[in-house]
């Protein structure tokens, strides 16, 4: 998960207690009124006095050397105030840093935000301008003269791995191979993860199934295009308002890329219009700052939708081979996978995550996973909700469905027989703690969904998913107002509105004051210590640990105030039910003091009440989920309709249950989109052909049914309220669950993603031809 977990990370033991607020569903969450009235301020809504509009010129070629760039005509256009190319940014050496769940390399980050010696994908930024209007900026782009030497390109992952494939980087030698290869290749790295003896495992197997799967890249599809507003002042200070999942990480990257002191860069996270991992990377921010610096005015940059598709995200396209063996009574004896993952133009896909998550739902003795990270002429991939996991689950959960059928077992019984549980040794290292996987399977099995009758061409599929809960640096401040109300300043980006409400509930619970008396506000990079990104399902889980820590410090401060007033020792005061109270009858007969009463006395007894947290939250509390889907296949068109959908997931503890349902439903529908429609389509020149929502079709309301949800609660032992991350698991099972349902409906196995009408229709026709020829053979 990016970085190794720190041995000094914070764990706060789970305490079972009666809860008044946590676990309820407040109807007055802090962000909602502004969002339904149009007042919420997203980055594109911010306008600074005198601001210019910045725009990016992008490569029309999949791969080319840049021979020359002539900005003179663009620069001379009246209204153009500044232009930038790679010459305005220092080159960077190889240096890796965590940026969400994926790692970045600054040598590549600077090239990805502005091409240097070459362009490596359709949409690669080549130059940028800032002008007094959007129209002038667009006109200026047309005046930039770029001389390209177009080179052969490669889009497909398997083709890119071939020895004769065009090689994107002549200094890229496959890592993880001994001895170091003599020739450069598109295979940036080879990874392995092993447990037990795979040969022995296959020798013990009575049933062995080996299959190959292919998936296309899909985009995060957030509705808000990337947007940034930057202001660089003559004093050498930069301020940026931007849509980001991690403003502190962005500040660090901006400072590095522009060689500024971090203290001189302030990043303000605007309300975020969706991210799903796609807003973990800087694209516009350094360009906007540099255009502002050179143009001496603020600069706003907003991507068009086609730029979002061509140059941000997507996830990896993959080629996955899965081979698994089991006994006839359904015990898995061996599990093997080869994972070939596109990273796009620069190395570094979600492969490391895929490699360690591929089989981590099962209690296995013999595992072997090999993965390749492969550069291709596509945009550099970004994280997308459980990055890398849906594609491997497609393979593994489909093969498991086949094995269960071969064994004559119910697919959930088969999984129960092999399910991971507390103490299961994972193939990537740690043993699992208490987890709720088995409960999700059992609850799914018992769900009324399972009793619904299926008609002709209808089928039911099951699949499961697993994801981590990332910890990492998290900071927060609780300020108690003089009137006894509380303000929490949090530093993890709240991507949906759910976190800030959950934080408020927890602060209110800890303090013993009503939910309405707590306000939560996002702190910019100048307000708090460093916070890692909202990634790895950590936003609410880690953010609430910081909120608890800060609140408990404020409570300690309040106990100190009471002690001073009562003239007793601080340890003779306890906090119970929203009041400071004497610890026992021997302390004295003092009336308990409420937060409001203590706040009133605070000035005299030492000053303002506040609490701070600057912690590194321990990684932990993995989440598991089981999905059941019913589909109907239209044999004439190949269209697959989702009829019914049920999702059961372990949330550890649901702080705000209805919001968690919303996350489950949203993740499942994103997964349905991945399964049935979404894919990047390139032409033979390596140009993206569907860079818009008309041709890249994400699910609409009429495509999906209601998504039934059940929350399982197996507390995370290292979180004071038992919380697990919940955001990512829901997107993992839909792809294989739907593939399994299609098989159940019409008897064809779909192994090429997406399972769009043309592909399903072709599979049905191939099946008819195969059936006809086998009948012909039988008749002879």
């Amino acid at each position: 998960m990016g970085r190794a977990p720190s041995p000094f990370a914070t764990k706060i033991p789970y305490e079972k207690k009666d809860l008044k607020i946590v676990g309820s569903n407040p109807t007055d969450r802090g962000d909602a009124v502004d969002k339904v009235t149009g007042r919420a301020r997203y980055a594109a809504d911010i306008t600074l006095p005198g601001q210019l509009i910045g725009r990016v010129l992008r490569s029309p070629h999949a791969r080319a050397n840049i021979l020359s760039i002539d900005m003179s005509a663009a620069e001379a256009l009246p209204g153009v105030k500044s232009v930038v190319t790679c010459d305005d940014f220092p080159d960077m050496a190889v240096e890796h840093a965590a940026s969400g769940e994926l790692m970045v390399n600054f040598r590549d980050v600077t090239r990805n935000m502005m091409a240097r010696e070459n362009v490596l994908y359709d949409g690669h930024p080549v130059a940028a301008v800032a002008a007094t209007s959007d129209a002038i900026a667009r006109a200026a782009l047309k005046l930039i003269k770029v001389e390209y030497e177009v080179l052969p390109h490669v889009i497909d992952v398997v083709e890119a791995m071939q020895p004769d494939a065009p090689v994107l980087h002549d200094d890229q030698f496959t890592k993880g191979v001994e001895p170091k290869p003599e020739k450069p290749s598109n295979i940036a790295a080879r990874l392995e993860s092993k447990l037990g003896d795979i040969e022995k495992g296959f020798a013990e197997a009575e049933i062995i199934i080996e299959r190959e799967f292919n998936t296309k890249p899909v985009h995060q599809g957030y509705i808000e295009p990337q947007a940034s507003v930057a202001n660089y002042t003559e004093g050498g200070l930069a301020e940026v308002w931007t849509g980001t999942q991690g403003h502190f990480v962005f500040r660090a990257q901006i400072a590095k890329l522009l060689q500024m002191d971090m203290s001189k860069v302030k990043v303000v996270p605007a309300e975020l219009g969706g991210g799903f991992g796609g807003k973990n990377n800087v694209y516009l921010e350094p360009l906007a700052i540099m255009l502002s610096k050179k143009g001496k005015r603020p600069v706003k940059m907003v991507m068009d939708r086609d730029e979002v598709f061509r140059a941000t995200g997507p996830t990896s396209g993959t080629n996955v081979k899965v081979k698994m063996g089991c006994t006839k009574d359904g015990r898995i004896t061996a599990a093997q996978a080869e994972l070939n993952y596109q990273s796009g133009a620069y190395a570094g896909s979600s492969l490391p995550l895929a490699t360690i998550t591929v089989f981590t739902r099962y209690d296995l003795e013999n595992v072997s996973v090999v993965g390749h990270d492969v550069t291709t002429n596509r945009p550099k991939v970004a994280a997308y909700r459980a990055p890398g996991a849906p594609m491997v689950a497609f393979g593994v959960e489909t093969v498991i469905d086949e094995m269960a059928r071969e064994c004559g077992m119910d697919p959930i019984d088969f999984r129960l027989k092999n399910a991971a549980k507390e103490g299961t040794q994972t193939h990537f290292g740690p043993k699992l703690g208490p987890i709720g996987y088995i409960q999700t399977l059992e609850r799914a099995q018992a769900n009324a969904h399972m009793k619904e009758k299926l008609g002709p061409n209808q089928g039911r599929g099951v699949a499961t998913g697993f994801w981590f809960t990332l910890g990492a640096e998290t900071s927060a401040t609780v300020n108690i107002g003089e009137d006894g109300t509380a303000t929490l300043i949090f530093g993890t980006v709240d991507v949906t509105g759910g976190s800030r409400s959950a934080f408020a509930m927890i602060v209110a619970e800890e303090l013993g004051i009503p939910f309405e008396k707590v306000r939560t506000m996002s702190g910019d990079t100048s307000a708090l210590g460093f916070n890692f990104m909202t990634a790895g399902s950590r936003g609410t889980a880690a953010g609430s640990m910081a909120a608890v820590t800060a609140t408990r410090k404020a409570i300690a401060r309040m106990c100190e105030i009471a002690a001073r007033k009562w003239e007793v020792e601080t340890d003779e005061v306890v906090w119970e039910d929203g009041h400071a109270r004497p610890a026992g009858a021997n302390v004295g007969d003092f009336a308990p003091m409420s937060v409001a009463e203590l706040a009133k006395e605070a000035s005299w007894f030492g000053g303002t009440i506040a609490g701070h947290a600057e912690i590194n939250v321990a990684q932990g509390g993995p989440g598991f989920g089981t999905h059941v889907v019913d589909v109907e296949v239209d044999r004439r068109t190949g269209a697959v309709k989702v009829l019914r959908y049920t999702l059961v997931q372990d949330a550890g503890k649901a702080i705000y249950p209805e919001f968690i349902e919303g996350q489950f439903q949203g993740g499942a529908v994103q997964g349905i989109g991945t399964a049935l429609n979404e894919e990047y389509i390139y032409n033979d020149k390596g140009v993206l052909e569907n860079a818009g929502f008309l041709d890249y079709r994400i699910p609409v309301a009429s495509d999906v049914p209601f998504i039934n949800t059940e929350i399982v609660e197996v507390p995370n032992p290292d979180h004071p309220y038992g919380v697990r991350g919940i955001g990512e698991v829901p997107i993992i099972p839909p792809l294989p669950a739907i593939a399994n349902a299609i098989f159940d409906a019409v008897g064809v196995r779909m192994r090429d993603h997406p399972m769009s009408p043309p592909k399903v229709l072709k599979a049905l026709k191939d099946q008819m031809i195969a059936d006809a020829s086998s009948q012909g053979t039988a008749a002879e």
């Binding site: 509705i223 975020l272 929502f693 008309l694 609409v700």
Partner: protein
């Protein structure tokens, strides 16, 4: 090119403005009038985030020119609540958690209001097909459909 003089009514207020003949109604609302409640998700009429009504007709404001609003009445999200009192759809969207990131919410609310003006008692299917032009990537639409159903019941008064 000289700017065009446009008089229009926005949320009941008579509004005069100058705009380029190439500017969309969305650009005019956001950039000329500072009404940023209407969002741009695609600029090509595919996502519905910029939904407004023009003389009562639901449109994507990115597909309408600003000068087409001349002499017409535009209703945007900023006009939906009456003072502090939210429209029933706005309240039900909050109650049912029909919004997460919120970028699609203004467009969805405008579109849902149009639906309920045409059909006060829509079926689930009618709601889903009416809102099919409004993309939401966060919610999976479940709670949006529930919120519209709940608002319809309240607005019918039964």
């Amino acid at each position: 090119m000289a700017k065009q003089y446009v008089t229009t009514t926005v949320n009941g207020d008579l509004t005069e403005l100058l705009c380029d003949s190439t500017q969309t109604l969305l650009d005019v609302l956001r950039d000329e009038l500072g009404m940023t409640g209407t969002k741009e998700g695609c600029g090509t009429g595919d996502c519905g985030a910029c939904s407004v009504t023009l003389d009562g007709v639901l449109v994507c404001s990115c597909l309408v020119l600003g000068i087409e609003a001349n002499g017409k009445s535009v209703e945007t999200i900023e006009g939906m609540a009456k003072g502090e009192e939210l429209h029933p759809l706005q309240q039900k969207f909050i109650d049912h958690i029909a919004l997460q990131c919120g970028i699609c919410t203004p467009g969805l609310l405008i579109a849902a209001r149009s639906l309920l003006e045409e059909n006060s008692d829509p079926t689930e299917s009618e709601i889903r097909y009416w809102l099919a032009g409004n993309l939401c990537r966060c919610t999976g639409y479940h709670k949006i459909v529930e919120a519209v159903q709940a608002a319809a019941i309240e607005m019918r008064g039964n």
